[in-house]
């Protein structure tokens, strides 16, 4: 097919999603604290390296906060609730006596080294997964996905686009509504005041999504059997290079003995950064 001779800038619209799926698979397969930490570090470095001015990218900052909250919450829950674990006691929290039938479960009590380790592992895994998908969401314009999805699935595509574009749009609305809160003379960030922020933000995001859907509908998106391309959207060598890092580590992780994880971790950290080279 002959397309306009215009160079595509950046990666294929699906690039960051492929990268995210591969990287998160590595993190899940290897499932160690070190690997999760490496993934977090690499994601943050990529975010710094690809930071730009378009508003899609500002959503990362907010999801970073979300990841921190999720991490802290998971740690707290891990310390407080669960079955008792043996091992060296690090410190003891006040314990609440639970009724007889909840035998084996404790609330508070001693925190052992083993518990700390397992909690840390799960909390970092959670944070790493959130950050990996946050990065792919904030670096790729969800709207551009529309162009690469098969038209046959257009209603699924449309729903997907609306879903993925809600986060960046909500971020934009949040700053507007927070400004408005100040203008109505409401100090503080209490829970009640967040309800006041949340409602207009959700309404706003919904309104935008409906507008977008109407626009797509009236421009004939998904109605015509044959579609063409103005700008080449082919998967290029740079895209392959960019995802080769996590892909290689994933294959290696699936084949190798997990005891080689440390070496693999170092390799993973370096290879996960391949989008920088590919750019």
């Amino acid at each position: 097919m002959k397309t306009a001779h215009i160079q595509r800038s950046g990666f294929h619209p699906l690039f960051w999603w492929v990268w995210a799926v591969l990287t998160s698979s590595v993190v899940l397969v290897l499932d160690t604290t070190n690997i999760s930490m490496a993934a977090i570090a690499a994601t943050l470095m990529l975010a710094a390296g690809f930071r730009g001015s378009t508003y899609w990218r500002t959503s990362f900052k907010w999801i970073l906060r979300l990841a921190l909250i999720a991490f802290a919450f998971r740690m707290l829950i891990g310390f407080l609730i669960g079955v008792p674990m043996p091992g060296k006691v690090l410190f003891t929290l006040p314990q609440i006596q639970l009724p007889e039938f909840l035998v084996g479960i404790r609330l508070g009590g001693p925190v052992t080294e083993q518990r700390l380790q397992s909690t840390l592992k799960e909390a970092t895994l959670l944070a790493a997964l959130i950050l990996i998908f946050a990065l792919s969401n904030s670096l790729s314009n969800p709207h551009s996905l529309l162009k690469v999805l098969p038209r046959r699935f257009y209603s699924i595509g449309l729903a997907g686009v609306i879903a993925t574009s809600v986060a960046p749009q909500a971020v934009r609305s949040i700053s507007r509504v927070r400004t408005a809160k100040r203008l109505r003379g409401q100090p503080g960030n209490g829970l009640g005041s967040w309800r006041r922020v949340a409602i207009p933000v959700l309404e706003d995001s919904l309104e935008r999504s409906i507008d977008l859907a109407a626009s797509l509908e009236s421009r004939g998106y998904g109605y015509f059997p044959k579609t063409t391309r103005y700008r080449a959207q082919r998967w290029q060598i740079t895209d392959t290079l960019g995802v080769s890092g996590p892909a290689y580590v994933l294959i290696a992780a699936l084949m190798l003995n997990p005891t080689a994880a440390l070496l693999l971790g170092v390799l993973f950290f370096l290879l996960i950064l391949t989008p920088v080279v590919a750019r």
């Binding site: 100090p187 409602i199 977008l212 004939g220 998106y221 015509f224 103005y230």
Partner: protein, 537 residues
Amino acid sequence: MINFSKVSLIYPNSQRTIIEDVSFEVNEGEFVLLMGHTGAGKSSVLRLINGLVPHHTGGILSGSISVAGRSTSTLKPGELADVVGIVGQNPANTFVSDIVEDEIAFSLETLGIAPDVMRKRVEEVLDLLALTPLRRKNISELSGGEQQRVAIAAALVANPKLLLLDEPTSALDPIAAEEVLSILHRLVHDLGLTVILSEHRLERVIQFVDRIILIHGDGSLELGTAEEVMRSSPIAPPLVELARALNMPTIPLSVREFRKLAPRIEIGENVGSSGHNSLGEVLLSINELSAAYEDSQRAYALSKVNLEICAGEIVALMGRNGAGKTTLLKCAVGLAPVIEGQVRVSGKNPAHLEGPDLIKNVGYVPQEPTDLLYGQSILEECALADRDNNVAEGSTLEIYKSLMQMPDLSSHPRDVSEGQRLGLALSIILSAQPPLIVLDEPTRGLDYQAKKTLVQTLKQVAAQQRRAVLISTHDVELVAEVADRVLFLADGELIADGTTAEVLNASPAFAPQVAKALPHTNWITVEEAERYFNAKN
């Protein structure tokens, strides 16, 4: 081209029929204006034409509508995409791509146009709408007028026979609006395109259109040539009102026609001028202010601006899109990053004021009044405002009732008309009793009646309650009606500061219709002219 036959439309859960048993026809190559009060159903009628109503929004439709020989009841809006192009009220929400060129091409991609044809069409449309220099730009970096042009280009590129536009100039400054309208005018005349647009600012469009559809709001509508409709229409631009006041035999639609028909009137002085308010103490003083756009630290939005606003005065801030108006207003409430210089509101730095201290000193109604609202009904909203503003229960509601003739108190603030939403936001701000009130672009989507209410309220606030009002707007006629003084910003610098008549008449693009129609007088409003003729008779 378009054929409505016995069409009625009602939305579910609504008591009012938008249109009832309506039949009309629009021919090929016509330029038609759709007008009516806010909330009368202009957008609904536009969206009926390409089938978005009821296919996308829901609603019960009876009768038949056909567009270019195709019936919209069986076809979805997407299936009409090759004959109808539509440009929504808020183009920024409807863009699918990041880059101008890609956005325009998207319409063709979905239609499956061959790449070499597509390339040619994109080039043509870029040229037609003067977008070639912007083709590789990111859409989010464009000004409102440029975005509007991109949206029109994206609709035009598919070569539709019919173009629908929903308030295409409401966010634009007078010069950008003129550009967009003259492009539409050219398309109608050169390409035989049929254009239907809805608009509140009649003074901008009425000279270009062939026919007018007036939606009364009670289910009926009236269709006639622009002159026929203007003869009796309750909504009319200042020029038509002036002609009616002068009892002119034919109603002129452009300044040129008016001047041909009107008697030459030459007076030097204002007759029975309303008299300027005596000014009180300085409420806002801005000293050598430079500030940046909120989202970027690099670009200067304002450089070395000096101004003072006193109690009892209404000051209008004008300038083109992107001149720094909003940034200046935001500085007055301490929202924009100040690089250097001073902003003082009643002697205090607004950036250091928090919560109740801020709203006791300055009230700000943002461009989107909806941002201020989070209640689930107007009643709840007013009660919340009483609490926030620490005033007696019911005082916000009282202000709201005095602003709106028919307040519908149980409605959700997002469901009421634009005018009511603005009224609500304004009541909330006014009930805190700030000495300085700042409004950003308040007339977007307001009809003449709502604007009149706004003008009265602001005048009363300034004259009787001795407060100062700073208002930024593109609406020249509103400025002529309401402002005592006009500030003009260009590229972040304050280039004019003087009385309304002085500043407005200095630039032809920003002159109100009355001043253009009667260039030998000092009048800028119909009221001034009426007062003169009444005194003479």
